[in-house]
Symmetry: C2
Subunit: 397 residues, 2 copies
Amino acid sequence: MKTAKARLTGNMLIAQSGGPTVVINQSLVGAILEAKRHPEVKRIYGARHGIKGILSEDFLELKKESAQTLNAVARTPSAALGSVRKKPTADDCVQLFGILQKYNVRYFFYIGGNDSAETAFIINEEAKKVNYELRCFHIPKTIDNDLRENDHTPGYASGAKFVACAFMGDNLDNRALPGVKINIVMGRHAGFLTAASALARVYPDDGPHLIYVPERAFDLEKFAADVKAVYDKYGRCIVAASEGIVDKEHKSIAAAFIREVDSHGNVQLSGSGALGDLLAGYIKQRTQISRVRADTLGYLQRSFPGVFSRVDAREARAVGVLAVKSAVTANVDGSVVIRRKPGKKYEAYFELVPLISVAKETRQMPDAFISDEGNDVTPAFLDYARPLVGDLPRIGA
Amino acid sequence: MKTAKARLTGNMLIAQSGGPTVVINQSLVGAILEAKRHPEVKRIYGARHGIKGILSEDFLELKKESAQTLNAVARTPSAALGSVRKKPTADDCVQLFGILQKYNVRYFFYIGGNDSAETAFIINEEAKKVNYELRCFHIPKTIDNDLRENDHTPGYASGAKFVACAFMGDNLDNRALPGVKINIVMGRHAGFLTAASALARVYPDDGPHLIYVPERAFDLEKFAADVKAVYDKYGRCIVAASEGIVDKEHKSIAAAFIREVDSHGNVQLSGSGALGDLLAGYIKQRTQISRVRADTLGYLQRSFPGVFSRVDAREARAVGVLAVKSAVTANVDGSVVIRRKPGKKYEAYFELVPLISVAKETRQMPDAFISDEGNDVTPAFLDYARPLVGDLPRIGA
């Protein structure tokens, strides 16, 4: 019988999913350390590589790990339990739930993005069907910052800090050796990470001079005109473009380029440098500017050790703690979300929402964060992102 | 009349050349601060964008800058005066020397690689021809670490630290989401920077598992076999490949790939992601491994703020100071080189060598640093590189 007072006793299972971040292990460790405080939680299983490890019953026992070891893990980038890019089928979910029953799992925590929330939701529904007492929690994580209900998500601010630092350095590099430089930034559907490049600006003529996000249709002609205008003004131009930029029919620019190349030469262009190189080639051809280069910031954005936001690390820990605490002591299910109090000074608070409300769909940048021309961010975005990212290296000061 | 005692009085000109580093401004500032100590040095001109700025007489006056401002510049990545990729012609050198005479420049310092040493050498020869008293110094700088006579060069250790950190993070990312990951590292002719990826290893199965440098012929068949062997053993494989890898006829692998594509489809592949993508495509096709990714570390290696080696910053400062001190007080010309004392504990010292001895040719990795199979580094390389790079972020500890 479930009441607010009767605490559920049994084992706990925790897993990580999707692209790693440099603070995802803070959430893992927060959850484990909190669980160790509650006698209701018997064994603490960590599944290796998310639901793949659950399906194959590949579990680590985590209760015996010392706080010292766990805190070291928390400071280590990438998913310590291993991750997976797999969205379970309906059949998988039935099987997953069967394994949870087999191991007497009463507390299930899945750290990840919207797909992970959906997985937790479906497993929870399976449990309800047969009146199996199970507390299911989704713990948010994504550098894309695209989870609904959240002001921002754990992992984003650290990725944003890496991006801002990368553009700071690249801007100085481009000042020294002028030309057009295009940097491709992660973010398939949301431009938050690409937008963070704007934090790199210190002086009025600093790059990035142009920022393209997936929320606005990308037009090649307009792009070339934008670059030329900046180049004519400053003698150089730094571009931040999201890997997920799309044309006005919502078709991926990267895919369009690759299709075109395929029809000509059957070239394998599967790989992460393609979009940047092709945009650079286009600018070279259209503007006759001779020095045009592209870099794709790549996996460093989510894994580079030592570059992280303190706010991010603290909040990633907090959402892990709160998920376990709520599951055990309040006997509820849900997803922990991060909200922000109105006002000039940054202050966050946490709430619980139903699993379904962050599952499936993602969110994009609000219009107020994107300039009218669609090639830059607004001061409102900078006000939003700055307190999350925190101090950046000081340049020329 | 030139004697060891008679100090030359006149103006000083300093400039920066080639690819920036995160510590090149330490050398610039070391030179300026030292020059300010000597009354023989009247005006201190900084030429913008190397010899381009000299030829166009685009000078900044630097004597008025405060120590506080200069020290802030020293901590800022990339060439503060601006850089240039231009090797002067014989005519240029005559013109350059004419401008030095016009501005009564008696002390000329050029911070850069072997081309910069050659430029300084030629200008010096021009001055000698007409008995114009001029002290010419080359101040070493290159992340490629390929200057002759030097144990290592300023800029290398900081670039190496970035590369090591990048591979540390990427190794953790690849553990979480296994597959083949190929990272392309800078270094057209020398593999030192690519080799530094080995510093990322903490545990025996850590990547990079394979390291390919330009000093050994790169064979695609052997590469695919190497990757497959590692993948079969660990279920994943991280590769560090230099952008400058060549086949047994010393032809660039990147160029070979691009030629092939050109003959088929006339595709513009000018851009920095091409080699990685093409190697990834090749592995995918040859091994049937499904998850194969490539990143090109790009300009971040030489410009990322906040990631630098303390040893590197200190030595970059020291070579700038020593060049000016030697020119003014010892009345000599030359290039400052960094040597290492034999013994377990790292200790460096500086010497002066004739300009010509570091000009023109570059050096490559010694055989003792490359494994017999040609796909890894040796412990001797790690002993060489570790004290230069210094502490790395602690992983899982």
